[in-house]
Symmetry: C2
Subunit: 401 residues, 2 copies
């Protein structure tokens, strides 16, 4: 039999490493013949737009390059899977493709929307007596998937954020004057990534001095008072703020929504910058870390990349053991030494749910996180990978789609 | 005798490497006793706010850390040196400090405003028969200093830009739809850094597909036509635009100016994003690379850092040979193999002047640069330095000011 793998949702630095994991384990398995890549997520299955990965990936060197190539080498989609009863034709197209290419297992690397697809598709195949295993491999920089200790992609995003923030700390401290720097971090509803900026405290930095998460109430008045109090004790105040905080004045919202009804957020940093200018009047700068948070593979976490490969491999093993409709998860065994195990849960439990940052890890005044949170974060950003370069620039793996 | 060194102007990734160069050469020179660091540029001399670097820098490991610590370990300033006749007291304070600390040579690491200070101060000492040598060491990510092939700090900024842009290229290509990504790059009047993004072409990338520099006329109408033409031939169009382009509609200018009368620019990326939304209507995103362009030392160019050390060392040699009122410069001997020599020019020639990107290196349609430009840029981003890490994060050198 053959297998197919696809990538979905927003890019991360580790999503290709999970593709490598799927590929490596499938290549080892004598029951598996061809390994197909579906272009642009499930849309590649629906439209029979597949590539033969065995043809495109020619060496271990290729696999190493793919591991540290950011974003999705197979492309992605934001396709919302309809219910079978509302659009049976889509399911028929998918099954047609699976049958035509003799695909016995399908691996979907993605976030909670992709787990919704994994769940629907596995239920459809089971209910119709079609023997195709469907397994979800988690990824998201938001770290907001339930039932897994953390998600592949998050550790590298956190490492990028902390490294960059530390450099911004140095940059912001050059002049002998009072200033505030507001750094806007991705995370619609969950503050994991913003909270992870506190790892700098473990490195002897006082910054970030104020951290604001969507999980806490946000008041513009308290914010200004927090900043003023910090300016009393230091020259350069560094603020990490989640794009998803709920400002008591809702005028910052763009109102635009994507296919899943998620609201596009942007500009909270700029809004807080303007607020500081208006209410305090000191030097202030806002910095939006933008897509660099999810694509800066030159700064990936070795732990994250290694685990992303591992969870991809485990997905193939689970399917070959007969599992379907599952998402692979990490379970943390211990922090010192850091140790994880891999298990699986029903994809339906993960689909369309979000794991927010724990209230008990937020300090009382709502502007910092606890030592327990640091212990959780630190192992995830550990280790560096030497990136292959050419002309002074990282080499990326590309397929001609 | 003793010497003093100070850092001025906007931070770069290499400005501390030049400090290391000054320190290393001075430490080798038996005629030099103490090495003072002036805090916050020339203001540290005026206010007698000095630190003893021999006390603070204890080992070669410290020097290695300083080399790759971003921004200025001694702090910076944007102090505009008055003419001696308009404010003699400032000069007297400076000379008092030099005499009190027995300082026989002063090294000012900075941009063209710092070279103005270097020039004024050296002329004042010569005219008043005071034997203190004043030497300027160049730095700026803008690469806009005259009489030097390039400036320390530029190569690392260019390496950051190209590496990040290449990752943004991958990130922007994930969905199967038409999109435009506008990346805003620093550079008030000179397009060197924006132009350097074209090094990606030497790495097999088609991006950036459109490059706009302040040195070319910019027309919003032509811009929209350029983007439309690119969207005809590809899905994901990447635009690199200098913050300093002169849009035919001037409404994007903030109107704010700094101490030197330079206008603060920002928001050209956002403005072009809105223009594309209005005139084309496809998916569009603007990304401002912000201060990360000048402080991302984790991604420094080894060539840049090595040269920054070298030019700092050369500055000390020049002063000890009796030179004053000079700025040290690079002369490029050859591209293949890449080879430079170091010389010096009158700081007055560099002060308050700007070297713009050559017209003959801009392609006819104004949206790309020539192969000659690539040959110029490529050696400057070459080589990586392994950064010391702790807890998964780079270690920075800090002095308690």
């Amino acid at each position: 039999m053959n297998i197919a793998v696809a990538q979905s949702g927003g890019p991360t630095v580790a999503i290709n490493a999970s593709l490598v994991g799927v590929f490596k384990q499938a290549a080892l398995d004598t029951e598996i013949d061809k390994i197909y890549g579906s272009l642009n997520g499930i849309e590649g299955i629906i439209n029979q737009n597949l590539v033969e990965l065995n043809e495109l990936i020619k060496s271990d060197d290729d696999l190493e390059l793919i591991k540290t190539t950011p974003s999705t080498v197979l492309g992605s989609c934001r396709y919302k899977m309809p219910a079978p009863e509302s659009d049976p034709a889509v399911y028929e197209k998918i099954i047609d493709c699976f049958k035509k290419y003799n695909i016995g297992a399908f691996f979907y690397i993605g976030g909670n929307d992709s787990m919704d697809t994994t769940d629907k598709l596995s239920k459809y195949t089971m209910q119709n007596g079609i023997d195709i295993k469907v397994i979800g491999i988690p990824k998201t920089i938001d770290n907001d998937l339930c039932f897994t200790d953390h998600t592949p992609g998050f550790g590298s995003a956190a490492k990028y954020l902390a490294t960059t923030l530390q450099e911004i700390v140095r940059d912001s401290a050059v002049y002998d004057l009072k200033s505030v720097t507001v750094v806007e971090v991705m995370g619609r509803h969950a503050g994991w990534l913003t909270a992870s900026s506190a790892v700098l405290h473990a490195n002897g930095e006082t910054a970030p001095h104020l951290i604001y998460l969507p999980e806490s109430e946000f008041s513009a008045e308290k914010f200004i008072n927090d900043v003023k109090a910090q300016l009393e004790i230091r020259n350069s105040v560094i603020v990490a703020v989640s794009e998803g905080i709920k400002l008591d004045n809702a005028s910052y919202r763009s109102g635009k929504v994507d296919n899943f009804g998620h609201e596009y957020l942007s500009g909270i940093g700029k809004l807080l910058e303007n607020l500081i200018t208006e209410k305090i009047g000191c030097k202030v700068r806002s910095i939006e870390l933008n897509v660099m948070q999810r694509c800066s593979s030159h700064l990936c976490s070795k732990t994250d990349i290694d685990e992303a490969v591992l969870i991809g491999e485990s997905g193939v093993k689970a399917a070959m053991q007969g599992q379907t409709g599952k998402m692979m998860v990490f379970k943390r065994v211990s922090n010192n030494p850091y140790k994880i195990e891999i298990d699986s849960v029903e994809a339906s439990l993960v689909a369309n749910a979000e794991k927010v940052f724990p209230k008990e890890w937020i300090c009382a005044d709502g502007t910092n996180v606890t030592d327990d949170a640091l212990e959780y974060f630190l192992p995830l950003i550990n280790g560096e990978i030497k990136i292959k370069t050419q002309n002074g620039l990282p080499v990326h793996f590309k397929i001609n789609k």
